[in-house]
């Protein structure tokens, strides 16, 4: 039995410490928001934050995150999945066209969240660097960059 801290909640799961974090999230924990696009650390669609640092959950063993906090896309909304609970990034991704097919979106949002926690007012180049590990085949990235920039502004206004 492993004890994990996922999206601010303590959970116990029956899994081998050698299982991929991605499989434990998607399987026993039912958190299918985190996606698998390649299984080899290239596409970034499995990105989660481990103690605030973006990691590819397809390359992380679940044993490695014991005692650390894991944040997935499901943990981004303040309080649930209603429009009024969305965090700024989620809202700006909708408004600015940051999500098309949406398969890269969870990983993209989580990478952007890590960026905005560390760099409250990122330049466009910093935004592009921060999501360089997240491949999006649909959008051409312009609208994702716009969405993250606007979310940064909204966060700045909140503080």
């Amino acid at each position: 039995m492993l004890e994990l801290d996922v999206n601010g909640k303590k959970v116990n799961v029956d899994a081998s410490p050698l299982a991929r974090l991605l499989d434990v999230l998607r399987g026993p924990l039912g958190l299918t928001g985190t996606k698998e696009g390649c299984g080899e650390g290239e596409c970034g669609s499995c990105t989660v934050l481990v103690d605030g640092v973006p990691m590819n959950a397809c390359l992380v063993l679940v044993g490695q995150v014991e005692g650390k906090s894991v944040l997935t896309v499901e943990g981004l909304a303040v309080d649930g999945a209603l429009p009024e609970h969305l965090n700024h990034l989620q809202r700006t991704f909708i408004d600015h066209g940051g999500a098309q097919c949406g398969i890269c979106t969870p990983g993209m949002l989580v990478s952007a969240e890590a960026l905005l926690r560390n760099v409250p007012k990122p330049s466009d180049d910093q935004i592009r660097e921060a999501i360089a590990g997240n491949i999006c085949r649909c959008t051409g990235y312009q609208r994702i960059v716009d969405a993250i920039r606007h979310a940064a502004e909204l966060r700045g206004r909140d503080q």
Binding site: V73, I103, R128, I131, Q142
Partner: protein, 760 residues
């Protein structure tokens, strides 16, 4: 509603992580994991399939071609994938025609064991030499198809090209090549199949999957398993990108999972890994085109001749249609008095090439646009200026004799894009800047390039007339409407724009309009989600059906009554369903003659102009795209944010095709870089900032004036980049009678080779 950026319908589910893609569907009771054993040779004869006796097969279901032909297991069924021609088997039986061709299917509850079982299947094969290039296929090095490897030919003639060329002041010929491209949707192919006993006692089949065209899969299942229309049910799950890659291929995955499910009696989930997906599924057709343009001294184009060949891969699949679109776009967006196009598709021993955004047009547009640049250089003209002089305008005539009478937006696009980029001033500045860099001994140069192009919306010729796409709109309690169509949202925003279109046609609030999940059991066949036809064609049927329902409710309504009250009364009065089923009525055009390839090839075209600025490193020949301007005539942007997203996403795929993406084929016909680690698609750092202008020259038959936009942006990105690189390298004394860069991809080493060769 039309023209407004409403929140996208599926946006919320996608940003909170609840959107359910195929592999997010919870395991079904007793579900098995299905895998495929594939051919390890590009061509050969399969003599025997042997299961390793030391492996425990007790809980593994094994299926082969024999099972499909087994009258007990599959009465009336056949081992064929129904598409244009019925040449492709669901599973290879004896003849192996391409590397990775599916031969044996395995399913097991234990996913790891299913994967291990693959290695325990031994295939006995007598290999044969493969054909791996267009040249080898045309030269009949080996015959792998029919008598001469030819899958299809088209011929287009207008005027008398040969005579006209004799009178031209300049006649220039060049040959241009393009390579494979992988769609690389981020969600791999996947389905879940399950048989069940229907109310009538008969066996029925349900397939859930990541797919573009539910009715294609439906047709394939019906054929292979001899099912009645209403005994096969195909439902789309939220789909993580398609770009054409989920047009025809999902039929094969669905057939495989369904066969395993039939044999095992259990639900079967089949999700491809990335490597398998890159190796086995369809790609963009490679091409080579020889273009001759004849023009007057002043640059007026007179005659054009294009000889185009495409590599179809091992089976026919959609190749005839891809070739047709390529041929119909081969003369570009320019006025000629005389046109001749000869197009041929050949078979080779690679996996079948298939649908990919642009569908043959990016290949021939690469050739014509590159050649227009070559002509400009030969004439000493600015490439923008020469395009401006020859671009189609209203009233001009295309190669098939189609008079461009409506919605001709080429010139407004050229104006808008070059104005935004400040073309003349920027070109001049860049040239001065490059001189300074040269003086200072710096090893980078900038360049500005351009392309102008058009893309026909909807099916070619009489395709839409034959297809008769249908859409239903139902009235629901509370004055709500539900749109039912088979058109899938694969990220483009179909659900959202259909709601906008229905709202504006009916006057019902968008909040009160729902779109039904595309499942063949519940939706009429509006045709496949392809050919940039969803908004322009299917959208117009949505509008018609929504308007008709609203009309019926209004007729019912009494003074002072709300729409919802009248609707509810109408529902009560008829005591059941109130629904409008409408069929597409194509605009009246000059009939297209499939024999002579004359007439109106498309109801209309969408137009675009790209301007690209690049920076090229003179030592490494690496190219960075610095900035991108584009103007696109979409008729009317139903949802400008989504529309611009299509333009930018398509353009980046074109940039990837030009600069980064390159499938490496080994001599044995296998792929050396079937991973995201070494098949490189552009990241956010590779992508330029996009300045996207939407131009609106309305098309009267599209909803609100809208035309197709999905594929167009894929067509012209690559030639704009090549044009910009040649501008950046202008100081290298390039040849003046041919393109420096005739072939894709423009990888640094290839550009280097070309520069060495041409400046030696």
């Amino acid at each position: 509603m039309i023209g407004q950026n409403v929140p996208r319908t599926d946006g919320l589910a996608k940003v909170v992580g609840t959107a359910r893609y195929i592999d997010d569907v919870p395991p079904l009771e007793g579900e098995l994991w299905g895998v495929t054993v594939r051919s390890p040779v590009a061509r050969g004869v399969l003599t025997k399939i042997e299961l390793d006796p030391s492996f425990d097969w007790s809980d593994v279901t094994v299926a082969t071609a024999d099972d499909l032909e087994d009258p007990k297991l599959n009465p009336g069924g056949v081992n064929l994938v129904a598409l244009i021609e019925e040449d492709q088997p669901v599973l290879a039986k004896r003849e192996l025609r391409h590397m990775y061709e599916p031969i044996v299917l395995l399913a097991c509850a234990d996913r790891d064991k299913a994967e291990r079982a693959r290695a325990a299947v031994k295939l006995h094969i007598d290999p044969l030499p493969p054909v791996l290039s267009i040249d080898d296929a045309l030269a009949k090095k080996h015959v792998v198809w029919g008598k001469d490897n030819v899958l299809k030919r088209y011929r287009i003639r207008r005027g008398d090209v040969d005579a006209a060329l004799k009178d031209c002041d300049l006649v220039l010929t060049g040959t241009y090549r393009t390579h494979h491209q992988e769609q690389m949707y981020i969600e791999p192919q996947g389905v879940i199949a399950r048989w069940f006993q229907g109310a009538d006692g008969a066996e029925q089949l349900k397939v859930l999957g990541s797919l573009q065209c539910p009715y294609y899969v439906h047709k394939a299942l019906k054929k292979a398993f001899a099912l009645k229309d209403d005994h096969a049910h195909v439902e789309q799950t939220v789909t993580g990108g398609g770009f054409g890659g989920k047009e025809e291929y999902p039929s094969l995955v669905a057939l495989h999972a369904s066969l395993l499910s039939k044999k095992s009696g259990k639900p079967v989930r089949m999700i491809y890994g990335r490597k398998e997906d890159i190796e086995a599924t369809t790609k963009r057709h490679p091409s080579q085109c020889t273009v001759t343009i004849g023009c007057k001294k002043d640059g007026t184009f007179v005659a054009v001749k294009v000889d185009c060949a495409m590599d179809g891969g091992a089976y026919v699949t959609l190749t005839p249609v891809v070739l047709s679109r390529g041929a119909l776009h081969a003369c570009g967006a320019y006025k000629f008095q005389h046109n001749a196009v000869d197009a041929v598709a050949v078979a080779t021993s690679t996996p079948p090439n298939g649908a990919f955004r642009g569908f043959g047009a990016p290949q021939t547009i690469w050739a014509i646009e590159r050649h227009v640049d070559a002509v400009a250089r030969a004439l000493g003209r600015d490439p923008e200026d020469l395009r401006r002089q020859n671009l189609f305008e209203e009233g001009d005539v295309t190669a098939t004799g189609q008079v461009l009478s409506v919605s001709v937006g080429g010139r407004p696009c050229l104006e808008a894009a070059t104005r935004a980029a400040d073309w003349k001033a920027r070109r001049a500045n860049i040239e001065r800047f490059n001189e300074r860099l040269a003086r200072e001994g710096k090893r980078v140069r900038r360049g500005l390039g351009i392309s102008t192009f058009m893309h026909g919306g909807g099916f070619t010729g009489s395709g839409e007339r034959r297809l008769k796409g249908k859409v239903a709109v139902d009235l629901e309690p509370g004055g709500r409407l539900r749109v039912r169509s088979a058109s899938t949202d694969i990220g483009q925003g179909t659900e959202t724009v259909f709601r906008q279109i229905a709202a504006s046609a009916s006057g019902v609030r968008i909040e009160d309009i729902a779109v039904e999940v595309p499942c063949t059991t519940n939706v009429p066949d509006s045709g496949p989600t392809v050919a940039s036809r969803t908004v322009m064609v299917v959208g117009s049927i949505v509008a018609k059906a929504a308007a008709e329902i609203a009309e019926r409710v209004r007729e019912e309504s009494k003074p002072g009554e709300s729409f919802a009250e009248a609707g509810d009364r109408l529902l009560r009065r008829v005591g059941g369903t109130v629904s409008s089923l409408q069929q597409y009525e194509p605009p009246v055009t000059v009939a297209f003659d499939e024999e002579t390839y004359t007439g109106d090839a498309y109801p209309c075209f969408s137009w675009m102009c790209d301007v690209a600025e690049v920076e090229v490193d003179l030592d490494t020949f690496e190219t960075r795209v610095v900035k991108w301007w584009s103007a696109t005539d979409v008729g009317r942007a139903i949802h400008p944010v989504l529309c611009a997203g299509q333009v930018e996403g398509g353009t980046l795929q074109a940039i990837g095709w030009a600069l980064h993406e390159d499938l490496v084929w080994r001599p044995d016909g296998s792929i050396a870089n079937a991973r995201m680690t070494n098949y490189i698609v552009p990241t956010a750092v590779d992508a330029p900032p996009f300045e996207t202008i939407l131009v609106e020259v309305p098309f009267p038959h599209g909803p609100g004036g809208a035309k197709g936009v999905g594929e167009l942006p894929m067509d012209g990105g690559a030639p704009a980049i090549a044009s910009a690189i040649e501008h950046a390298l202008a100081e290298l004394k390039l040849p003046t009678d041919r393109a420096l860069l005739p072939d894709l991809p423009l990888l640094p080493e290839r550009v280097f080779e070309r520069v060495m060769k041409e400046t030696a």
